[in-house]
Symmetry: C2
Subunit: 460 residues, 2 copies
């Protein structure tokens, strides 16, 4: 069976079981069973010899007592009984097992770890995730094996971005933050000690997953460098992979060793691997998802020539500085575009880059400018800056830009900073289909990443 096929059961099981399901509100066994019941999974069985019923559902003393074929089992029992529970799952031919329980290699435990290792070798048809992991969420099937405190965090919108995090806690923090953003998440996975299913398996799965358009990842160190490299090379030809690499320095590599037990390896080796396999490396949490956002929403640019359009001279200059310092180029408009633009601009204007539409620019003037830049062969990316507080910006006409956007075969992004008034109209701009950013530096970094990914695809 292909790797992708075997991973599928973690996200879209028809029948699932929770070993260690509980009636104790707030416990991990309670939360996971409750969450799975709410999902689209057809049947979810609670396994716990202590109970006859769990949350109103008939409980079983063992998975082997269930007559039906189980796709996914989630194990939340104490470490000491994990090997026995796992073997029962394997004997029952469960396709996928998530071991949430901790207390294995991450604390230096050897005996139980070895037992699990032997079982994985003995029963290769059952795929195992963990131990010591929070497992998966899938916004379409509703499967959710994470046990984060719901009152303390939000769930992201549905979207086309999938996220693999080597750290469960960091992953949960990021998902909570993503819930405040305009982009949505498709699938999330934190795979813990990676004794069987590892980052490369997940990468390959997301690479083949039609609902995933962009893959984001927090990685401290790959379990199997070569496997990871091979898979990444294949996958990044199909869709972009953006990685925030944790432990990029000798000192933090030590910290990573005691955190996820991963051999982080030289950051130079990773940089080379990332470069060769077309992986986009994010510098920070902030960049990770901003790069993902632009790649999810925008068409790929043909080159690195950016046209800035603005109603504020200073804002244009600050942005142009960021464009240049990120290795991008300011485009030079064609004669035809300049001629077009002269018609709509005050007579004393010079049409340049940044293209300063002046403080009295209205939305129709913006529209002509954006459309000219989109048509111009010398322009690869259009970056529109708006000072919404200038009185001639008629916000009622904002949606008219939707037509310009709809025709766009080039990345067209909008930057603005301000308080409530500006934020409100940035939401409108998003609804008109544009990708928005506040800070020019963040936008420029995202465009840079996009340009280099487009370049990689051209070469490969």
């Amino acid at each position: 069976m292909s790797n992708t096929k075997t991973i599928e059961a973690f996200f879209s099981p028809e029948k699932a079981a929770v070993i260690g399901a509980s009636n104790k509100k707030g416990s991990v066994g309670y939360t996971i069973f409750e969450n799975l019941k709410k999902s689209k999974t057809k049947k979810v069985f609670p396994i716990n010899p202590k109970y006859k019923k769990i949350q109103g559902v008939k409980a079983f003393s063992s998975i082997q007592k269930i007559k039906e074929k189980i796709d996914l089992a989630v194990i939340v029992v104490p470490a000491i009984v994990v090997p026995a529970s796992l073997e029962e799952c394997m004997k029952a031919k469960v396709k996928a097992v998530i071991i949430v329980s901790a207390g294995f290699s991450e604390i230096g435990e050897k005996k139980l770890t070895n037992q699990i290792e032997s079982l994985i070798k003995k029963y290769p048809n059952t795929r195992v995730m963990g131990p010591n992991c929070v497992g998966v969420t899938d916004s379409f099937t509703g499967v959710d094996t994470t046990f984060f405190e719901r009152s303390r965090m939000k769930t992201p919108k549905k979207g086309n971005l999938s996220f693999i995090s080597q750290s469960g806690a960091l992953g949960s923090m990021i998902l909570d933050w993503v819930a405040t953003q305009e982009f949505g998440v498709n699938k999330f996975c934190s795979y813990g000690n990676a004794m069987d299913v590892d980052e490369a398996d997940l990468l390959e799965y997301f690479g083949n997953d039609k609902q995933t358009k962009v893959i984001t990842m927090y990685l401290e160190g790959a379990r199997d460098g070569r496997k990871f490299f091979e898979v990444a090379k294949r996958v990044s030809k199909k869709k972009p992979i953006i990685i925030l690499k944790g432990s990029r320095n000798e000192e933090t590599q030590k910290a990573a060793a005691s955190h996820t037990g991963s051999l982080a390896g030289s950051s130079k080796v990773y940089e080379a691997v990332f470069h060769q396999s077309g992986i986009i490396e994010a510098d920070d949490l902030l960049d990770l998802f901003n790069i993902a956002k632009i790649l999810e929403k925008e068409p790929l640019p043909k080159g690195n020539r950016v046209q800035i359009i603005t109603n504020g001279g200073g804002f244009g200059i600050v942005t142009a500085d960021q464009i240049i310092s990120n290795g991008l180029k300011l485009s030079k408009l064609s004669k035809e575009s300049i001629k077009n633009l002269k018609n709509i601009m005050p007579t004393d204007s010079t049409i340049s880059n940044p293209m300063d539409l002046r403080g009295d620019a209205d939305i129709p003037r913006y529209k002509v400018a954006i459309e000219s830049a989109l048509r111009d062969k010398n322009v690869d990316v259009v970056m529109v800056l708006v000072l919404f507080n200038l009185p001639t910006i008629e916000v009622k006409k904002l949606m008219s830009l939707k037509q310009a956007r709809a025709k766009a075969s080039k990345p067209t992004i909008v930057c603005a900073i301000g308080s409530d008034y500006t934020e409100k109209y940035m939401d409108t701009i998003e609804k008109a289909g544009f990708t928005t950013f506040n800070y020019p530096s963040v936008a420029a970094k995202a465009v840079k990443a996009m340009v280099s990914y487009a370049k990689f695809l051209k070469k490969n």
Copy 2:
């Protein structure tokens, strides 16, 4: 009279006049007169021969008709009559004149520009700001000569940060954004064509202004490089100056020439000047105010050794990577601190940097860790990371950290990212006196700026 004394009248006039005041709602002359009436300025006179009363106040046909001594006059008449209005002010011995009107050197106009230049030379006792400027705001005196559309933006809180912007529009956009932040603004000034009062005069004034603790600036090019350098050297010994330099590249220098008419000059020359005079250069709008915020709120560090304290291993690693890539060092705790910390930590813990308090850390454990780091001679800066969504973080106990903070003679900052729940408790953390950041990269850059400013002060 000292430069500082003469600039004072722009911000704290006892008596003011608006030449070109108007009854036409929404006009610049209306808005500025209305704003000044609301300020603490004792008397404000409207000047306009067309009206008998303006907004209910007796109007004068000329400033010379007023028997009282005027400190500040704001000119908002058409360019063609600006020289005559200005001369009347000068003859009436007005201390400070702001020429809001545009239509001079910024559009290549020469005749009127030369007339103003001659008047400035002839009457050196009147200081002139502008033309083509939005003037000043002062959050304490309430003086506000800007004419931004109030319904489209917010006003920042009162604070200790002053802001000089060569671009009026960019300045207004930034002020609107600052209104969403937790730090406040003291004075703002955008000085337009700088025919008399320039960036160096304002820098010197803010340097002597007791209400200004930190000076921020958007600068495309100084009018008089040498004067600016001399003043900056003196002022930065007293308080930090943070500059976002617009037009850092040859291409954007051309744009700056047509925007503010400034000779931006080689960015290498500026870099050298900034370095020698202790000016902190911000890379972007985002950094400009984050650096200002940390310098306003935190004591200066003695060195560059940062101790990270966290309840999430991955978050600690990501932050440590940023600390190192910004040229800072991870501190090595003293034996005494380690001994202290061992008492409060699970037995199998290793105390290191990042100091991982584990996922089950509560606020009392954080408190001991923060206090140990604050006492430790090997630590210069304490960076506290919190995953608020972990269940043992008892938010009710957050305010107990206030005591630790109150004793702190070292910068102590808190980083967290999340949605509503986290943001709410970050507000509490701020109220307990800590400076907060979302992104580790932004925090690390701010700490780096702070460390380099402290180093400059030690040497100078």
